[in-house]
């Protein structure tokens, strides 16, 4: 399926990451957004409030973040492609509905333009402290997908990927921007609509009476329907059988929850997006994501210029975590530095996957500022020596 030429703003633009995210969502076919103002994400919904009335979309500013994180799920079950936009404190309120989306297999995107926390924290300053929240924030066992862009262009490109993944796997997808990426101005090339390929929702073609909303007909993701097609489905956040009916027992729970997890975990290779350079034979490899990866790129180049063998890995897909990638780094590099704007989140995943085979170091801060290149270079030198 191609993007809609009447809506895509084809051309070369000089815009920030937030606006690029909004334009990417439009290109992805998103025509309904429920939001609530919160720094530093607000420009996304402001842009959509301006753009949507001209392209047949609808933005509604809800009464709070909780409402915005479920109103859009109502719209999705009405047939829309949709996302919700927020930041730290709002995302904390929305977590119950991440769980609802996981349980009901609602294809949706949660945008989180990260700021410093905990609590109200640093509304206008960047952080990458919500990485574990994205993974574990709602109660119960479930899996999400999370992508971290590092430029306005990537905000455009990867929000489309986020929508594609949500449709393909029928799961909540986090789009983990940060304040720096959201407010960073840059060149964004928006291609013609016919060059933007989109993943279509896997709608059932089965007639009423021959369709069960949670039966697996093929693959590991059920076919979707929407309200009004005569399927008369029941959709619930309770543990449910393949008819969608509540079933309060351990057996149904086991079948359902394992499937919700495995439909993601069995496709890590397809979901995982990363860049890797010069890992083989390196004395140390830097792993980073989002804004921090931009600093890492500069620091690694500088260190290489000084004759240090440094590998560089940038993660775009944060969840599901790619263990195989880390094992590959461990086999080809003598040490790892994980750089992130937090006091240690992804580093725990890297340590787990590295299994003590090489030393894993954290280069982090408590949020509020990017990690400067000098700190990177000093850390690289310290680890290598």
């Amino acid at each position: 399926m191609k993007a809609d030429p009447k809506a895509v703003d084809t051309g070369i633009h000089f815009i920030d990451g937030n606006e690029a995210c909004a334009e990417g969502a439009i290109a992805a076919g998103c025509r309904f957004v429920s939001g609530y103002p919160i720094t530093p994400s607000t420009e996304i919904v402001e842009h959509l409030a301006k753009r949507f009335p001209k392209i047949g979309g609808l933005f509604i500013q809800m009464e709070d973040e909780i409402a915005s994180s479920i109103a859009f799920q109502g719209a999705i079950w009405g047939g829309q492609k949709s996302m919700s936009v927020s930041s730290g404190p709002g995302i904390s309120l929305q977590m119950e509905h991440v769980g609802l989306a996981a349980m009901t297999e609602t294809p949706c995107v949660f945008v989180n333009v990260q700021r410093g926390g905990p609590s109200t924290g640093l509304p206008t300053l960047p952080a990458q402290q919500d990485v574990m929240q994205a993974r574990w924030g709602s109660h119960g066992d479930y899996e999400v997908i999370a992508l971290a862009p590092n430029s306005p262009q990537e905000c455009f490109n990867r929000i489309i990927t986020a929508f594609d993944y949500s449709e393909k796997y029928r799961a909540p997808v986090f789009f983990l921007m940060d304040e720096c990426v959201g407010h960073m101005l840059g060149k964004v090339k928006i291609p013609p609509a016919d060059q933007i390929e989109l993943v279509e929702r896997k709608m059932t073609t089965r007639k009423p009476g021959e369709y069960l909303p949670y039966r697996i007909y093929d693959g590991d993701v059920p076919e979707m329907t929407r309200a009004g097609l005569g399927h008369n489905v029941h959709i619930t956040g309770l543990t449910h059988d393949e008819r969608g009916y509540p079933a309060m027992n351990a057996e149904t729970q086991d079948v359902l929850v394992r499937r919700l997890c495995n439909k993601i975990l069995h496709h890590v290779d397809e979901i995982s997006i990363y860049d890797a350079s010069q890992v083989e034979g390196s004395d140390v490899t830097v792993i980073s994501y989002g804004m921090t990866a931009r600093v890492a790129a500069y620091a690694v180049e500088t260190a290489r210029g000084q004759g240090i063998k440094v590998g560089n890995v940038r993660l775009v897909t944060l969840w599901p975590f790619n263990d195989k990638l880390i094992r590959d780094i461990v086999d080809n590099s003598k040490a790892i530095i994980v750089a992130e704007m937090n006091l240690g989140q992804m580093v725990h995943e890297v340590e787990r996957a590295a299994r003590d085979k090489v030393p894993v170091h954290l280069l982090g801060n408590a949020g509020g500022a990017i990690i400067p290149p000098e700190a990177f270079i000093a850390k690289i030198k310290e680890v290598v020596s």
Binding site: I55, D64, I70, L100, I235, L238, Y245
Partner: protein
């Protein structure tokens, strides 16, 4: 399946899910019976009717009606229904839930959906308690009534729901009890046929928890009480219909007015400001 005549409301029900979870004497099932008849009378095709519930005993209604139905999170049924209603302009969206769900945890969504005049019907089964969790106090529990979390009697003032709904902008507001099945069915039919935000309060017995704790007898006793202590007063001022503990109650149709809906206002404003560059949101027909 035998050839015996079926109950006329059966086709609205997911009979394969019977027996339901509601206690003997509970009023929720009676209200669903009225609802099924109202859908027939309002002549709404089942694929144009979507039912959304929150959490609780009344929140289970969505699971028993044989239409596209959504059992959402606690208190958030109206917020979900807002998105669903906007994206399905040709359908009627009904929120069916209880007093605790709609007016404690969900109160904020109720007032804003009414203010926006979102096209939906909200049916509140008011049994004065949280049934599913064992009979705790709610925002509608009358003063002095006992609940498991107000063991010495409730000391908080309760909501007057019709008054709240009117103040927030609902275009149709009525209250009936489970005794008044015909009037309730007619009110539901009217609400289903009304464009905009309509609200129905349905007073219902909870013999297992609310009544047992307050020594008010069984389900039949409460229906008898509703019969003996209710006065029909259509058009009554909603400021005068507040409820006390086992007080007399005013029932009837209180508000019936017209206001532009959320989408009416959106379309008018955008057309005025953007002119021909406005592209209306069509939703999915």
């Amino acid at each position: 399946m035998s050839d015996a005549p079926r109950n006329p409301v059966e086709k609205l029900l997911r009979t394969e899910r019977m027996p339901h979870i509601w206690c003997p004497g509970c009023g929720i099932g009676t209200s669903v019976n009225c609802f099924a008849r109202a859908i027939e009378q309002a002549d709404i095709p089942y694929d144009k009717l979507h039912v959304v519930s929150g959490i609780g005993c009344s929140g289970r209604v969505a699971g028993y009606v044989n239409v596209d139905s959504f059992h959402t999170t606690h208190g958030r049924a109206i917020a979900f229904a807002t998105g669903l209603s906007l994206s399905r302009p040709s359908a009627k969206v009904v929120v069916y839930s209880g007093d605790g769900d709609l007016f404690a945890i969900g109160g904020n969504h109720f007032i804003h959906a009414a203010r926006r005049n979102i096209d939906m019907t909200v049916i509140c089964i008011n049994n004065f308690t949280y049934g599913m969790t064992g009979g705790q106090v709610t925002p509608t529990t009358p003063l002095t009534a006992k609940a498991s979390t107000s063991p010495y009697g409730n000391f908080e003032d309760s909501f007057n729901l019709p008054n709240l709904a009117e103040a927030c902008g609902a275009v149709y507001v009525a209250r009936w009890t489970i005794y008044h099945v015909r009037q309730l069915t007619r009110a539901m039919t009217k609400a289903l046929s009304t464009k905009g935000f309509s609200f129905l309060e349905v007073l219902a017995p909870c013999p297992t928890l609310y009544q047992r704790r307050n020594k008010l007898g069984d389900g039949v006793a409460m229906v008898q009480f509703f019969k003996d202590h209710s006065t029909i007063k259509n058009g009554a001022s909603t400021s005068e219909v507040g409820l006390g503990f086992q007080s007399d109650m005013i029932v009837g149709e209180f508000v019936d007015r017209q206001r532009p809906t959320f989408m009416d206002n959106y379309n008018a404003r955008m057309k005025e400001v953007l002119g021909d560059s406005f592209v209306p949101f069509e939703g999915i027909k």
